[in-house]
Symmetry: C2
């Protein structure tokens, strides 16, 4: 049973029943799902949650779906205490929330797609789709295949190979668009209207975005029902950050965590080549000025983020901030995370870690407080980003002599490694 009361416009407050609509008929503001929190307060306890499944539907009471049809292995990703990385950064309590492990297509998008596809089926749609920078397309294609739904995904023409093949393999219609994500997104609005399809992040957006809350719920439960003092997340269209903020607020309201020290501060990470939200935060002006993206972090290259304003608000409300990362800083951060923690993320994750490093070094995030860095995508999809930057060496013959020579006669292996012989 769902606790949904209906939709409410985030701008003018107009109420509506829950249906496949995302924009307020009065003021064109975005609709958001509202719940019966009084009933939730009576129903949802830590004990009840503990008996739930270990996937996104553990949080079903707090999601706008009556009958889940997919996502039974999505969510429940690792929260890893990252002590080796923390040592490099001089921090005392650092965690990685690792959605590069999310199933089945290895990004945080499984969360929003599990909810949105289930809702689409509930509404009676038989065709689902999305506008995507890659990860969302992968996820929609995989979940749609498993659910037996017809599927169209729309992507910019110049995505990484892993993300293109990673949609095509599941058998949807993959439509490449000459343009950037913002062009694709505009086209998808028109397509949703004309063809009556469930374009999950367009006309099902109020339901879709709710799925992102599970990222925050999991962090709190995994920390033993505590909130971290600082949460750093990447910003693309602006879904995840405000929704994790909402998730923390809901947990406080429902009495599931204590709001000690005024809750968690939120921080936005963007690539320097596409940072409309961080620019607004730094200028302290709540107007997001669109940009033309130019960055290797293609999955977050959204110049005109649908929910950028709400990212800004959540950050200011929480007392947080933002930071941008250059392409080189992104690659360096990917490598740092991989070599210290054995986690390989895509450029979006590199951006988030690079931004976290800046915020920690500048003193904005104190080193002695708990910090969660949100990793939202997997490095296997963006191999070309690293291809040239990693140490490589010529093959040797399959003989001990050749290996000895490669070690170069150094007294110790350590010396040989340091000397760059290996």
């Amino acid at each position: 049973m769902s606790f949904v009361e209906g939709l409410q416009c985030r701008e003018c407050g107009r109420r509506s029943e829950a249906r496949a609509v995302h924009v307020c008929e009065d003021c064109f503001g975005p609709y958001e799902v509202v719940y019966d929190y009084a009933a939730l307060r009576r129903t949802v306890t830590r004990e009840k949650i503990a008996t739930g499944p270990r996937n996104v539907w553990r949080w079903a009471d707090l999601l706008p779906v009556d009958k889940p049809v997919t996502g039974f292995h999505s969510g429940n990703t690792p929260l890893r205490r990252a002590d080796r990385l923390a040592e490099v950064l001089g921090c005392s309590e650092l965690y990685i929330k690792d959605d590069s492990a999310n199933y089945p297509t290895y990004s945080y998008k499984e969360r929003v797609v599990s909810v949105a596809i289930s809702k689409a089926v509930e509404f009676g749609f038989d065709t689902v789709g999305c506008a995507s920078t890659g990860n969302l397309a992968n996820s929609v294609a995989a979940h749609a295949a498993a659910a037996g739904l017809q599927c169209f995904v729309f992507i910019p023409h110049d995505l990484e190979q892993g993300k293109v093949v990673g949609s095509q393999v599941f058998g949807p219609s993959v439509v490449r668009i000459k343009g950037n994500y913002d062009d694709v997104n505009r086209l998808c609005s028109e397509i949703a209207d004309k063809y009556g399809w469930a374009i999950l992040n367009v006309n099902l957006r109020p339901y879709y975005t709710e799925g992102a809350k599970t990222f925050g719920y999991e962090i709190a439960e995994q920390l033993g029902w505590k909130l971290p003092k600082h949460t750093i997340l990447p910003v693309a269209g602006g879904t995840i950050l405000p929704k994790v903020h909402k998730a923390y607020q809901e947990l406080i309201d429902l009495g599931l965590v204590e709001d000690s020290n005024g809750g968690s501060r939120f921080y936005a990470a963007q690539a320097a080549g596409c940072n409309p939200v961080v620019t607004a935060i730094e200028k302290n002006i709540d107007v997001i000025v669109p940009q033309k993206p130019r960055t290797i972090a293609k999955s977050i290259a959204i110049g005109n983020p649908a929910d950028g304003f709400y990212v800004y608000n959540a950050i200011k409300q929480s007392g947080g901030h933002g930071a941008s990362a250059t392409d080189q800083e992104i690659v360096d951060a990917i490598r740092l995370l991989a070599t210290t923690e054995g986690i390989w993320t895509e450029p979006a994750g590199g951006t988030t870690l690079a931004a976290a490093i800046k915020l920690i070094k500048s003193g904005r995030i104190p080193k002695d407080e708990s910090i969660v860095i949100g990793i939202t995508g997997n490095g296997l999809k963006t191999i070309e980003t690293l291809g040239g930057s990693l140490p490589d060496s010529e093959p040797i013959g399959a003989s001990l002599n050749e290996f000895d020579r490669r070690l170069n006669g150094k007294a110790s292996i350590e010396e040989a490694v340091l000397a760059g012989a290996i």
Copy 2:
């Protein structure tokens, strides 16, 4: 506390204390770990297991490690009821055990590496390594990075890009060898001897292989403490199949599952271009004749499998069989699994499904009995395998008109898709 009694030679039965040795000093047979099963029978119950962690260490009592140092998010992968695939194949009860989701490097190797690295640290090694066709190297590199160990991985020179970068990113010394896996493996034996390193799948092999049992334990628990009637697994070096067979036997011996109908039958899947074990099975002769591999399924292209003989034995003992798949059948099976179940596997997984299809079609595996297909690796690492075979189309401009034209004026979307317009 570990229940290990020591090592025992699989050939002559010689006993040894548990140490970093893999070959019997008397007869050169392989050592295997033996346990105090009487004590295990008194200790291990379904209830005790249910309170354990949700990772490979859930099975710590049945593994040869005192103090785990890695693998705390490895294992515990989905067992998925595959009804859409089953419908295509005409089966009634089909499951995919999906180690393409295994963490942190998305193959079944996390299981053996978690055990072997923990054991290496216990033995006092500070350098770990492996001979690998890619997945093992990825896993060793990632776990070693997270554990702060020095690491060397040895791979054939011609692996897929995803597997090469997927090791390099974690910062080990990646040594490419001019030759195939069997050449790499021979060299690694010499290196282990000369340098005193823990080459996990060579001199720590008795401990390493035990980790593969967790694949089988999980299947049984996920089926509600039942064994499937039929289990199909890929064969490369020959680790996983005999160890899953052993896992099932142990569960029967410990009274954790019932041995109804004489246990589970095992089936080997190999690529037609490298099928020494399947050839032996088909000829019904327990001699594995080495081959020169020639297949797109590089991760299982091992022409001279270390434990091929034990694969043969387990299959014959269980009443199972084997089947081979051509490169085209492998690609077709990858696409079938992706489009029906939303699971993207590498060629090894395509091989396993293709072999299963043959065994089902030929009647060797009855359609009305429970079947588990073991998927051991992830398609994201082998993009080049599919690159050319998937439907693709030219980008269109970002306008509704262009999309309408792409749909080609067909009366319905279904028609347009069928006509190949999308």
